[in-house]
Symmetry: C2
Subunit: 221 residues, 2 copies
């Protein structure tokens, strides 16, 4: 892992925005915040030239992303073998409704990470990585769960992907209509969207008296 | 486009689930509902073996997905050229918090579409496709907007991807803990998640008296 990292991920040919450059960002603070706010990433890997894009949980530990899954997963097998990967995290923050469809857009924040993953094999390191992923989804959950057993760790594959070739794209703000469209009697603006937690649903086999824990009651608040 | 289609997308070697088969679905009704509920898809394309995964708006018109973007987009250029593509739509419906991390999971619905896109070039067809995408994001919006102008259509690339090689994956329900873990004093259950619209934010240049339209006030309700 890089240490004493600069504030910016150096853009490469592959991560340099070709168009709409003002939406591109490479600073670590923006990238980290987008990654930390996300719940699901989309992992892309190509097999025989055909890309596959799959949703996965993830976690961030400093300058690496952590992924996990079944030791029997074909996707993780390809990734552990060093196949080029792209991991993308996207937040849709709002619909940008302009007077014209052409000027309509979305407010979003996304991060794209390119590279090759490396397998984490040491059981203690794996257990720590799984705690990072659990706490990413529900902060504090790792200390509430029963600790992983050796056979569970053996059945789980953990991969890390260094945050080295990284870019973010961000759109915020109102629609940018053509001047001639502004006086049209058409509502324009942003419809903000948010992901919210609803009432927790206890498991049917939950014994009486076990109340929602901190990680559940204070989820991301 | 296929007509009088059967109720199921025939699984192929590439879309047949290898593990957790009970979560896989191939019926059109399930697939259509997941696609229709989504707002953003993740589009994967490989260039020189490196996959790229990008978030995009989309729409569904019968048995085809519609994508659009700038005529100058490198990604759309690759897709219009017939590069193999994967389009994935994912809904995260809840965090499944089990007593163990190993049994914890997510409730989700996702659809993966494989194939090669085809460019839509006829201006009238393009205009109709853009209306489908606008109405996908905000039902009814296409009839509120100013119609697209010829130069706007010329600056926009529209692609269609037939729904032929398609699979869905769905997880629902409570955690499935090991029997020995059920009596542990650890809360287990599902934390449901939902994407909700918040108060519309009028554009700063909106003339007085233009009220939120139907598409905005009744967004997906």
């Amino acid at each position: 892992m890089p240490e004493a990292a600069p504030d910016v991920y150096p853009p490469t040919d592959r991560t340099t925005a070709q168009r709409v450059k003002h939406r591109a960002a490479y600073d670590r603070e923006t990238v980290h915040r987008i990654l930390d706010d996300g719940l699901v990433c989309h992992v892309g890997v190509a097999v025989d030239g055909q890309p596959y894009v799959l949703p996965m949980a993830y976690g961030r530990d400093g300058e690496r992303l952590l992924l996990h899954g079944s030791a029997a997963s074909r996707l993780l097998d390809a990734l552990a073998g060093g196949a080029p990967v792209c991991v993308t995290v996207t937040h849709l923050d709002g619909l940008v409704l302009a007077r014209s469809g052409f000027s309509s857009s979305m407010n979003y924040r996304s991060v794209m990470v390119l590279g090759r993953a490396r397998e984490v094999t040491d059981p203690e390191e794996k257990a720590r990585a799984l705690d990072v992923i659990a706490d990413h989804l529900a902060p504090g959950r790792s200390s509430e769960q029963r600790p992983a057993e050796p056979k569970e760790l053996a059945a789980t594959r953990v991969l890390e992907l260094a945050l080295e070739e990284v870019s973010a794209k961000v759109r915020t703000g109102p629609p940018q209509d053509l001047a001639k469209d502004v006086e049209l009697p058409i509502w324009a603006g942003v419809l903000p969207l948010a992901t919210v937690a609803q009432e927790p649903e206890p498991a049917p086999d939950l014994p009486d008296g076990v109340e929602p824990s901190q990680a559940v009651r204070h989820w991301r608040r």
